[in-house]
């Protein structure tokens, strides 16, 4: 299969990025250094091209009904201008995808889904789209830039009449940005360091990207690759679909109970309600290495006697903590913060400690 390119592909190559296949796209994994890029976002401001993400428009009198059925969070109280983190469940107890629901207007929503799941999600939602609801997959028409970091507001303010400091977390404004009308300026992100995500029609992507870098120059703005995106999100304990959540993990096991609302009915809600009452047997938990070593996806988690108690779903060296950190589904009796566990790192049993997430307060 030929890899897709984002509108900015040639820019990334010209910037010297190392490009890798990711979810069917050729994406920049790093421009200079993962650690440098990570610190740029934690301390200053950086820009990610995450145009591979998928966007679906859902419109019509029954749009709300459809979204309420396929997603676990409750949109009944969502106001226009608000966004909501949510997930879609299958009928077997697992998660089809995690996503963000934007309420663009009454009877008009945008769903932002993971690139690797665009086709699966589209087919899944389509089968429930009956009656007065229109679905439109606009993934190939929209570019998405995440401008993240404590200096994001200052760096971008000159590009828009919208007062950026007034956009609360998980709220958005549709307004002029870098000379382009109707850009969705969203107070969201996947880094924990604050900032915005900008939804821009492809034909204006290059103009917006260039103006962001020009306006951000005094703030030392830099392009950031997917490598740092992963270390930034992992330090915050955010789930990555395909690693930490998938078709076999329940939202309750994944500690996504806070977006699983039993105040309404949704796909598989009866079974999940029962699971909530009975309690889960395993739970996604964070740990940090005490012995020197770096956990990686797929490594076994064991107890002091070497019995398997889980598997690492995500792991890395944390650039902010200079220490190995990871997540994995642990048997319930090991999920208490402070519990001693061991990671089997290529045949060596190295000590780690279960900790509360986030790993790092940005």
């Amino acid at each position: 299969m030929e890899l897709k390119k984002t509108a900015l592909h040639d820019k990334h190559v010209a910037l010297g990025a190392k490009m890798v296949p990711f979810a069917g796209y050729n994406m920049p994994v790093r421009y200079t250094s993962d650690i440098e890029e990570h610190k740029t976002v934690r301390e200053g401001v950086g820009v990610f091209d995450v145009s591979h993400m998928g966007e679906f428009m859902v419109r019509g009198p029954q749009a709300e009904l459809l979204i309420q059925l396929v997603t676990t969070n409750d949109i009944s109280k969502l106001k226009t201008g608000q966004a909501q983190y949510s997930c879609m469940t299958n009928l077997e107890g697992g998660i089809i995808d995690d996503l963000i629901v934007y309420k663009l207007a009454e009877e008009e929503y945008m769903l932002v889904v993971n690139a690797s799941n665009i086709e699966k999600d589209w087919n899944w939602i389509s089968q429930y789209a009956k009656g007065e609801v229109m679905l439109d997959n606009v993934s190939d028409k929209i570019s998405l830039f995440a401008v993240q970091g404590p200096k994001a507001i200052e760096a971008l303010q000159s590009l828009t009449p919208v007062k950026l400091a007034d956009i609360p977390f998980y709220h958005f404004v549709k307004g002029e940005f870098a000379g382009v009308p109707d850009v969705i300026i969203s107070g969201t992100g996947y880094t924990g360091s604050g900032g915005f995500e900008l939804y821009v029609p492809n034909q204006h992507a290059e103009q917006v990207w260039d103006k962001i870098f020009k306006a951000g120059q005094p703030y030392n703005i830099k392009p950031i690759g997917l490598g740092a995106r992963d270390t930034l999100r992992l330090e915050m304990g955010y789930c990555l679909y395909g690693n930490d959540i998938d078709d076999t993990t329940s939202p309750l096991e994944a500690r996504l109970g806070w977006i699983t609302k039993f105040s309404k009915e949704f796909n598989n809600s009866e079974n999940l309600r029962r699971q909530k009452e009975t309690g889960v047997e395993r739970q996604l938990s964070g740990f940090r290495m005490i012995d020197r070593g770096i956990p990686r996806q797929g490594y076994e988690l064991v107890d002091a006697d070497g019995n398997k108690i889980g598997t690492v779903t995500s792991g890395t060296m944390s650039p902010s903590l200079s220490q190995g950190i990871g997540m994995g589904y642990l048997k319930k009796e090991f999920t208490q913060p402070g519990s001693e566990i061991f990671v089997d790192i290529r045949g060596r049993r190295l000590k780690a400690e279960v900790v509360k997430m986030p790993f790092y307060q940005a």
């Binding site: 250094s33 993962d34 440098e36 070593g293 890395t316 650039p319």
Partner: protein
């Protein structure tokens, strides 16, 4: 992207370089390898004093995003490990052919060395 592969070194297809001085050889990973790996945060070599065969694993190198085995370019005894990499593994990124060296080995014979890739053969292999 411009990368350097010193003419006087030999190379493996696993991206190690080896430089020979008498029957003592110094070994590290190439500029290409360090760029592919990204920031190196940990070099683990626990084979000092051991004889390791050509093509066998003598250690591992951990980058932020990935871990990779290190392969012996020629059979020999590992006489010395670069201790500086314990506290400054990033030397492998900044100076892969100098301060970022990994081990010194006493070769069993020099045939192994002579059969490795030349700088131009290696450069061609990595598409330079």
């Amino acid at each position: 992207m411009y990368m350097q592969f010193p003419e006087e070194f030999r190379y493996t297809k696993d991206h190690e370089w080896i430089s020979l001085d008498g029957d003592i050889a110094t070994v590290g990973i190439t500029d290409f390898a360090q760029r592919e790996l990204g920031d190196i945060v940990y070099v683990e070599i626990e084979t000092q004093g051991e004889t390791v065969d050509q093509g066998e694993v003598f250690g591992t190198v951990e980058a932020v995003k990935t871990v990779s085995d290190l392969f012996m370019p020629a059979t020999g005894v590992i006489e010395e490990v670069n201790e500086a990499l314990q506290s400054e593994p990033e030397l492998v990124n900044s100076d892969p052919y100098g301060k970022g060296w990994m081990i010194r080995i006493r070769l069993e014979n020099t045939d192994d060395y002579n059969n490795l890739l030349s700088a131009s053969e290696y450069a061609e292999m990595v598409g330079q």
